[in-house]
């Protein structure tokens, strides 16, 4: 079966509005609507940190080459060995091979991990987990 390559590019997103609009922000909204359960970004919203568009943007921004194999800027030099969940390796390899510039599967794992963790504010990790543990009746 012939491979289909999409080559057309949309001009959407080229113009950026820099008006100083006031913003409430998701945190403030969630404080007001404490009982609202977020279901994630709406379909097609490219501002979702884990969208394929966001992955590509991060790779383009961080992959640097100084002559040898391109490396992710800001990545640890000491690798971490991880065992992936069933089925994830294949997905990662597909994404890594289609993102431009090309990345290794291991680099793609780092990118995905970074984007996922970016959604968790560092200063809220301990508080949030303590609260959830407490609600579940687990003590440290």
């Amino acid at each position: 079966m012939p491979k289909v390559t999409f080559s057309a590019r949309s001009a959407k997103g080229r113009i950026r509005d820099v008006s100083a609009r006031p913003r409430l922000g998701q945190d403030e909204f969630r404080a007001a609507f404490a009982d609202a359960r977020p279901l994630g970004r709406l379909p097609g919203d490219k501002s979702d940190p884990l969208s394929l568009a966001a992955i590509g943007e991060l790779v383009q921004r961080t992959l640097r080459s100084s002559g040898g194999r391109p490396a992710l800027e800001g990545a640890d030099t000491v690798p971490m060995r991880v065992s992936l969940m069933h089925g994830d390796r294949a997905k990662i390899e597909i994404i890594a091979s289609h993102v431009h510039p090309r990345t290794s599967p291991a680099q793609m794992v780092a990118v995905l991990c970074h984007l996922a963790l970016a959604q968790i504010p560092e200063d809220q990790i301990v508080d949030s987990l303590s609260r959830l543990n407490s609600e579940a009746g687990w003590t440290a």
Partner: protein, 134 residues
Amino acid sequence: MDEPGIEIDIAALFEAEPVHGERFSIYVPNKDRNGTLISQEPWVEEALALLSKIGGGATAMPPVEGAWLNEVTGELIREQPRIVYSYIIPDRFLEHRDELVGFVKRLGRETNQGAIAVEFDGVLYYVSKFREQE
């Protein structure tokens, strides 16, 4: 090769004052959790009035096709919700937040919903606890 982005101050371009922030929407259902028709229009009217307080104006979309899975019964409820939205003025949103939260909970409670969907700046939320003190 990537083309450079273009930055434009839209507010300045139209000599408009940028007072509005994110978009906030309420999905007003026309059926209850069991698929029974409810009176939708009074709730749309009330949502328009309330959102106008926090955004200076509001818009109600015509009915759209929707579906909601009742996870208790496994029944797929087909409905025709109306989306009422406004681009909020943050200070007014905070000023009227209790009224807004109260409205959404009352909508869910009095029309026997499993959940009410609201959307804030592209993120969809379900509100399913309808008692005021929950």
